[in-house]
Amino acid sequence: MTQVQLLTLVNSAIAFGTVIMLGALGEILIEKAGNLNLGIPGIMFLGAIGGLIAAFFYEVGGGTSPLVGLALSFLCSLLFSALGGLIYAFLTISLRANQNVTGLTLTIFGGGVAEFFGASLNTLAGGVGQISVPITSSAYIAYTSLGYRGILGKLLFGHGFMAYLAIVIAVAMRYFLNRTRSGLNLRAVGENPATADAAGISVTRYKYTAIICGSMIAGLGGLFYTMDYIKGTWANDGTIEGLGWLAVALVIFATWKPVSAIWGAYLFGFVYWAYLYIPGLSRSTLELFKMLPYVITLVVLIIISLRKKRENQPPAGLGLPYFREDR
């Protein structure tokens, strides 16, 4: 393998990793509040289509400034994924619907909304062919000026700004969860809501906030996918759903630690793309190779349940409903 090939592989691993890292970070925040949200793929769909819709109308309306497109699509993406999170939060917390079933429904709904608008937005607006938002996308993939100085420069600076944003979010989340009072309260809610409630922490408010903020972060994963990874277009192939489930898997792989999600995401990206560079793979064995991220996650899941190390366990209240009068 040449140096150039290795660089390409690492860079595509980082781009791929950023999508699932953002999804996983959102899910970590939500799971820390005790909710297992299987709606992450749906929320990533919503975040993706929200950004695309804003950018599309901005560009169809004659907008030419990449930065305005960036701002609009970013805000709209956050809004869409927050709404998705709000539906999930309202159903699971206020109406006490089952978390798993609500999450799966959100995945169906989000996928439907995104793929419907992604495929028909252009037709509905009277255009022809595929939707495309090149101006807005150019703002997402504008490389920093340092970007072209040698291998190291390309490795460190050759990414859209959201790749760095994801790392910042991960580090900030680690600080929030471990070093701030609100973060500790949030973890208490996820570990044992009854105890947290007795200590005067508002379980409902913490859960709502965590789910909505987590959804916004996860939605950014979808936004990064449309704007950066596939360069401001749309493909109705359900890739985001697969990536969303991989994000849920990454949460386990990272054992609910935001910073571990960074290298875990890049590792997943590396494993996912490595087949391109392995000589002599036939088309069928290639498919077996793509199984690896899931097999690795499964092995991690089994190992953490075998070792029972306390700091690697899922939040104790994960997936369980909390209703004060039930005790």
């Binding site: 299987l38 006490r96 709904f109 989000g110 037709t123 849920v248 499964l298």
Partner: protein, 372 residues
Amino acid sequence: MRKPTAAHEPLIRMAKRGEALPAWQSWGIRILAFLLSLVVSGIVIVAISGLNPTTVFATMAQGAIGTNKRMWVTIRDAMTLLCIAVGLAPAFKMRFWNIGAEGQILVGAIASAACMIYLNTLPPVLLILVMIVSSLIAGGIWGLFPGLFKARWNTNETLFTLMMNYIAIQLTSFFVAKWENPFGSNSVGIINSQTKAGWLPNLLSSGYNGDYGWNVIIVLIVTVVMYLYMTKSKHGYEIAVIGDSENTARYAGIRVNRAYVRTIVLSGAICGLAGFVAVSGASHSISTDTAGGRGFTAIIVAWLAQFNSVVMVIFSFLLVFLQKGAQAIASSYNLNQEVSEMITGIILFFLLGSEFFVNYTVHFRGKKVSKA
């Protein structure tokens, strides 16, 4: 620390109902929620397409049951969905979160397709029987792993079965690439299109895919047997007790771990059988879309029906009807057919939310009356 405030009654207060609502009221709430969801999705469709809602619903009905052929396709798909839901019900009833139906369907489908390809010289009836058994075994094995780990080490089954889905999807891609026909098409094509070996035959009519009567018979047999198993057998009783309280079950001397493994293997096996029905009775081919998200939809069917077999039949038909109807709208008005997923999502949100009003009452401040 926050200052203690004087006790006051909150604006809205929720309480669990003291006694369960009579059946007609609880179903009334659900039906009301369903009608409400139809109104909302009607508004959405009209807003998107600018069509008259009555035209929309007429087009839906036409698309789902308008012709004999469409009617049979709706029945066929509802039966496949029902089969999966019936398979999932026992696992969910004991609070074993098997979200791996998607994978279990696929391995069942792989096993059936393999028999069709490699054993196509067997006598027809024998071949079908071999396919049924092998799909049951394949699905059962796919359920066995998460079951064993859950029973032995309490490994989280939701996440385990989720990963098994993706392993099954890649396994399917592997076999699709291996069996592809014609070469380079990246699809398996119709298996045994000449001899029709391993195809479920027509029951009532002749001609190519004239009806899907055998699908109905197989799935209804499974449904009835499962109903009897769940309500009349000792195993079914154990499942119900574990689902209500695992500790009570332990105290009563039920071997919980054994019940976990047994039930999840059964659950996986029936989902595997659904894979057989999908391959042998419907597509006569296999692809990664053979399960097509139905493993997830069926969870919602089973859950909303509260594992009641009759209600599961109704829900399966309802969801498939909506999907076919929405696809008809999409194709006649040049919209994307994903609109059906969106509408399904809206309806399910309403139905999920309605369960709250079945189980809880809402009190407003200052009023003594309860609102349901």
